[in-house]
Structures are given as C-alpha cells and as structure tokens.
Symmetry: C2
Subunit: 452 residues, 2 copies
C-alpha cells in the first residue's frame, strides 16, 4: 500500500508547480476584460483533471463562465462524493499594496502568495492532486465527481441553473467543499452549520414630492421621521429582535453544542480585533460564538432618505428606504420569518406613511446531519493528519451553493476548509499556508480511505 | 400733482418693453457658461437705473457676480429706503415643458411668461420704473437706494461680505423687498415675519469599517440601528419636538395674531393640494398656518447609512449620518436651540456609537417691528391700490439677506411681494400677472407718498 505521507513529500515540488500554473491565470470573473483568462483557467483545470486520470472531463457552457466537470466512478458499492470548488478569483486591486505581483505566485515564510492561493484555487487543487495521486496508485476507494465553477466571486449566478439541469450527472451521496477557513493554525476544522439568509427592502412615502421645510415644515409628515420611528421598533434596548414570532422556531443549543463552542479558543478580545468594532454587542446571556453561529439576526444593511450630498438642503423628504437582511438558524423557515417581519412593519408603520415592501426572499440555514458517517470519517482523517482534535465549528454566513445542493440535489455538504483567518482573501497579499497545503492533502487522502 | 394711475396706464407699453429687454437676458447664476449673460443683466439694470434718473449707478465687483447699486438722495429730512432685489434667475430646464421659450417673454391670458418674470426681474423692475417715474415727474418724496444682486439663486454667496464692507453706502432707515408672493389673487399681502434656521449634521460610528453580517452579525453593533434609535427620540408620537428646552423661548401668539391668521382664507385642503402630501401632520391644537408660520420645527433633511445601491449587500454599516435643520420662530436663539439639540443627541446616543456633530449654525427668525410707520404706510398704499384690505402674513422660510440687513446694518425689512403662489417660480412656464405688475406699481407710488 502506498504511504500517503511519503508519496506527497516526494511529489511536493510537482504539485506546487501544478498549482502555480493555475495561480498565474488572472481569472477575475467580475471583470469583462478578463473573460478570456477566466476561460483559460477553466481549460487549465480541465487539463489538470484529465492528466490526473479523471474521466468525462468537459467544460459545460452556462449563460456566464463555464463549469468544469470530471469524474472517476470505479468503486461500485462505495460512496459517490461531489467535490465543489471554483477557479475564478477576486480582482487584485489595490495593486500597490501587494508585496509580490498577484499573478506571479511566490513562496515566502512558508506561505504561497498569489490571488486565489487560499480562495479557492489552492484548496480545490489539493482535491484534484490527491484524487490524481490515488488514481495513479490505484488506491482511490470512493467515486468522485468534480464540479468547479467560474462565478463564485460574482454570486454563482448560473450555478443553480446548471445544477438543476444536471441532476443525474451530479447525483452523489454528499458534497465536500474546501473553500473556508480553520479557526486557528495547526488545528483542523470541520464546519457543520451555516446560517441562512432572508431579506427585503422597504420604502415609505408620505407624499408626491419632497417639500421645502420653510413653506411646509410643521404641517406635513416627513418620510425620514416615519422611517426612523418604524425601524427603531425592530429591536429592543437589549439588542434582541422585537418582531413577534421571530425566535419561535429557533432551537435551543444542546449542552454538548454549548460545551463544544465553549471549548473553542477564540476570545472576545480576538473577535473584537478581527471586527475592528468599538465594542461587542448582542443578545444577553449568549457567548460571542453562540451569537454569531447559532442566533438569528435582523440587520439594517442600508437606510437612506432625502438629501445626502455635501452642504445643506432644507428639504422635507417624501420618501425613505431601508434594506434589511436576517441571518437565520437551523429550523427557521425564511418565508415564515419574512412574513413576521412584514406583519411587524405594517403594524408599526406610522399612519402618515405608505409602506411598500419589495423583493422578500431567503434561503434556510444548513446543519450537517449529526452522526453522518462522512462527518466521523472527516474528523478522524483530520485528527490523524494534524495530530490534533479538529475544531467542530459553524459559520455565521450562508453559502448559496450549499443551499442549492441541499434543495436541488437533496445532498448534505461537508465543509472542510484549510484556509486561515488571516490569509487576506479578497485583499492584497492573499496567501495560503504551505503546511496546510501538505497536511490538508494528507487529510483528504486519509478521508477517502475512511469514507469508503 | 401727477395722477399715478393715469401716468402708469400711459407708460404701460414702454414699461413692459423695459421689462422684456431684461427678461431676454439668460442671467443664470448657477451655470458657469452664462457668466457673460449674468454680467450683461447687471449692466442692463445699471443702464435702466441711469435712464431712470438714479445716481452713483455702478457695478460693484464681488468674488462672484457683481452687485448693481444706484441712489436718489434728494429728500433731506425724509426716510431713506434701501430696495433690494436680484437680477439672476434659476436655470430654465426642463425646456420641453415650457409653452414659449423661457427667454423670449410673451403675454398670454394676462400673464407675462418668462424665466425671471416673477422671481425677481419683474418685481424689482417695478421698483425701478416707479422710482424713475416719480423722479421724472419730480414727485419722489423719499430717498432711495437700490441694491440689486446677481447671486440670490445660488445662496447670495457674497452679499453678506458686500453689505458688511459697504455699511455707509447702504445706510438707510429700513429695507423693502419685493421678491415674494401674495396669498391669493386680488388681495395684496404684507409679510411681517420669517422663521429662522438652525442646522447641524451628525455622524455615528460603531467601528473602523463595515462588517460582513454573516461573520459578525449578532455580536457587533450596527451604526444604522444606533442612528434610527437616536433619531426616533427627537419627536414624540404627536409630532412635537422632544428635545428638552426646545420650546422654552417660543412666544405665545397674541389673540390679535391668532384672529389675523384665522381670518386668512387658506384652507387645509388647499394647503394639502399645494403640498402634494398624503396628509397633514403636526402639533395638536394649532392651525396649519400657525404651525408653518409661528411654530419651530426639527426636520431630518437627510439620513444615510450602509449600502444604498441596487440589490443586496449583507453589510453591517459602521457609520451612519443625518442632516437636521430647525425652523425657528421669533425670540428663539439659534445657538441656544443648537445647544439643546446637541445635549439631547449626546444624552440619547446609544453607548455602542461614537457621536460627532458637525457644522452647527443658524440665523434667528425675523419679525417686523409692530407699529413701524412704514408698515402702516404700506398697508394703506396696498389697500388703496387694490381696493382690498391686505393680508398680513408671515412666511415659514428664512430669507438670508433679511438676516444680513438686520444683523449687519441693523435694519428691519418690509416684505411686499406681488407674486402669486402658482406662478411656477423655479419651474417651467414661470409667469407674472400683468394685473399685479400694474397694481403693484400703483401701490409702490402711493407707498412712497405715504412713507415720506
């Protein structure tokens, strides 16, 4: 039997060389002039999949950038795993803050510096390389399908359509994604929960046009007043959401979950430093991680009314708007939450204003099925590779593709990220730890053995 | 003794011709390409003053557009009156909504249509023509000084400086301005009060940068929440300003004032139509005119925070801002009001936010000295010319030059406007009533006789 550690050490230079070739392609999906580069990256990933022994490798066209697919289905009776990643990257600007050019990868201090190093070329390439190695050595005991898209950084605009129209092609037992971070160096992490999202926009109107405050002030309503009065009702003084029914379906944490979160090393001081906020703030009686991972929120993302330019304009605004999104937790139904918010807004809207609610929509939270064999296999693989018990974490954000896999394919997702929180994804000097590149591949190799 | 009615009727065509020449000049002070036109209008007014027999006529340069000055000081022992007006106009756009070109004056249905017809070329020209007629006929019994500026429509940017540096030149007993409107057709009006203005801008910050609501939502403060919570404290549920001390110095209306306002014909229905608001709203127990003319207000002119573009951005804003202005009434000190608001904001600012207050400043309200002989003369002159008791009104807005005359020259101002509320000033199809052009000149002639 091949020794994974030895094999990976022996091929390390070749593996890094493969990754560097991919990192050199400026596949910036948000910028139209990089269309050709984005396609070149798709082609390069397809070539790598082919060289690695994957089959049915193809670029599938979408209304946007193509999806790269490849499979290896030679383990009948064993699980089939869909591996998702993306080959597109964020724009590198501002360029002058990079210490080496963003598309000329280089290693400094044990880190690979390049746009896309950690998000996500580095992490998805680990998967391809491990699959290739195990195919080469004839020891891959599971069936793998690769789905590598080119629009993650612009909102995965066309992935949902692609998934919906390729259900058979993508059929699997579960999904694995490596596009997230560990909580701290040297300690692997397994993410078992994501919050959902629900949002809407509202507009208040108090008249047909803005009015001169000299001619009318004192005798007509002001839409900005109505807005702040209405929005101020959404929270109580302790930071809890004051919408009736908002917390109805929120599950209490189990003692085990509470203990698990409490065992994690993130201090409030560290969290505050990461946030750059002047203070922490939130529901009483909950730890910071509980608040961010397991409690629903209602945030004003934007409010605007009247004159917002420089100087003074003595106007009485007739219109005022706000954008609201909620982070949802497992067991909350986005539609039910949106209805509760809508009821609250209609009930508390000042009489002088007409309320319009626009574009309510949402996606539910995600919780990995407790006790799923792949979870246990992943925990053990990570423990063996890193020599440390993995952090079992959640994330406060949503990942739309996880929702798509859940809703369209009916598949749970395992989130096994190898990034670190300070690796500057979406910022200058993005980098990826060489150590995690190596230990991560070792963990993946072991994972497929245990997951078989 | 010359009969004013006969004289004015005889010279009507010539007078209209003078006005039309002035209306043909597109003296749009806001638009740099019209700089030459603005100067041409100043020159044309200076020429008209000279032809009318005024003396010391000159263009006085300022840092912006020139001020036109002219005087006739041949009635020793009689009052000296400073007449203020402006020769600049608003931009005419949108041009396609005009039924005749804005700078080609024409008479239709007894109305002069042109940009500047009512605001203010028409009204200030009446003064020049009446002065000219009375000088010509040797019957001008008062001393007159004309001050006609070219920046009124852009905020009278340099007039304060000019007035401050020409106190001797502008020394007078009082000021007369005809740049406002009557309340209704056929009934002359005399405005005896203006509200003042006080304003500031505030900014709340809860951290160093905006945060991702997935990663941080639930555990950090949101500046937009803090803003709506703070701003919602500024009014009570009945529309009164909830700032402690805000109403302290506000004078009760005298029974005579209350009766006077109640006698005016403006109905709430008409006011609502003018406003285009969905409803009226304001302090309980006050009529609409009392609210607009005699009660102070606190208005949010603008609020903004976070993401206000199209679509969704799950951001937690770290900054939120608002612009506030107050309309003040006689006896209120702008500084004292601003201090009360500042105290209120600091007291109610949520702990999680840092509050910054910027640019507080203000001007007091204006109330014509009750019983001033010029007031009585004006009332009688208007009564005789129109055959109707004048409406004694106030205005809810401020006129900065009135404050300048009050504060720099120590002079009260008489506001005798001949416009009508529906004459589209600042809008397409601006016009001025021929009837008021004639009756107004008659009233002015009679006014100088009575004011002597």
């Amino acid at each position: 039997m091949t020794d994974p550690r030895g094999y990976l050490a022996e091929h390390r230079a070749a593996h890094l060389d493969e990754l560097f070739q991919l990192l050199r392609i400026p596949s910036i999906s948000a910028v139209a002039e990089h269309r050709t580069d984005v396609r070149a990256a798709a082609q390069a990933f397809a070539d790598l999949l082919r060289r690695s022994g994957l089959e049915q490798v193809a670029l599938h066209e979408t209304a946007g950038h193509p999806v790269v697919y490849g499979e290896h289905l030679h383990s009948p009776g064993h699980p089939t795993v869909l591996i998702y990643g993306h080959y597109d990257v964020q724009p590198p600007e501002p360029l002058d803050l990079w210490h080496s050019p963003p598309f000329e990868p280089e290693v400094r201090d044990g880190k690979i510096y390049a746009r896309g190093a950690t998000d996500d070329k580095g992490q998805i390439t680990m998967h391809v390389l491990v699959a290739g190695a195990m195919i080469q050595e004839g020891v891959l005991p599971v069936n793998l399908k690769f789905l590598i898209e080119g629009e993650e950084e612009v909102g995965s605009l066309h992935l949902g359509d692609f998934v919906a129209s390729h259900k058979d092609l993508l059929a699997a037992d579960y999904v694995v994604i490596s596009d997230s971070t560990m909580l701290r160096p040297k300690v692997p992490a397994l993410c078992v929960g994501l919050r959902g999202l629900a949002g809407l926009e509202l507009r208040l109107r108090t008249g047909q046009h803005d009015l001169h405050s000299g001619n009318f002030g004192g005798a007509v309503p002001n839409a900005a007043h109505a807005l702040v009065e209405l929005l101020a009702t959404l929270h109580d003084r302790e930071g809890r959401v004051a919408v009736e029914g908002f917390y109805d379906d929120v599950l209490d944490l189990t003692p085990a979950e509470k203990r698990g979160f409490a065992s994690l090393p993130l201090t409030d001081r560290e969290f505050l430093d990461q946030a750059g906020a002047y203070s922490l703030y939130g529901e009483a009686g909950r730890t910071t991680l509980e608040r961010v991972w397991t409690r629903p929120t209602l945030e004003l993302n934007g409010v605007w009314s009247g004159f917002t330019g420089e100087g003074r304009k003595t106007v009485i605004p007739c219109e005022a708007s706000a954008k609201i999104t909620c982070r949802l937790v497992p067991n909350q139904d986005p539609q039910k939450v949106l209805q509760a918010i809508t009821r609250h807004l209609r009930h508390h809207c000042p009489d002088v204003a007409q309320l319009e609610i626009m574009g309510p929509d949402g996606v539910p939270a995600f919780l990995a099925p407790p006790g799923h064999p792949a979870l246990r296999a992943a925990e053990q693989a990570l423990r063996e590779a890193y020599g440390h018990e993995p952090d079992v974490i959640r994330m406060g954000g949503s990942i739309p593709v996880v929702t798509d896999f859940q809703e369209i394919l009916g598949l749970p997702t395992l989130l096994m990220g190898f990034g670190l929180p300070d690796e500057n994804l979406h910022a200058p000097d993005e980098h990826f730890s060489l150590e995690n590149f190596s230990l991560g591949m070792l963990a993946l190799w072991r994972f497929w053995q245990l997951a078989a």
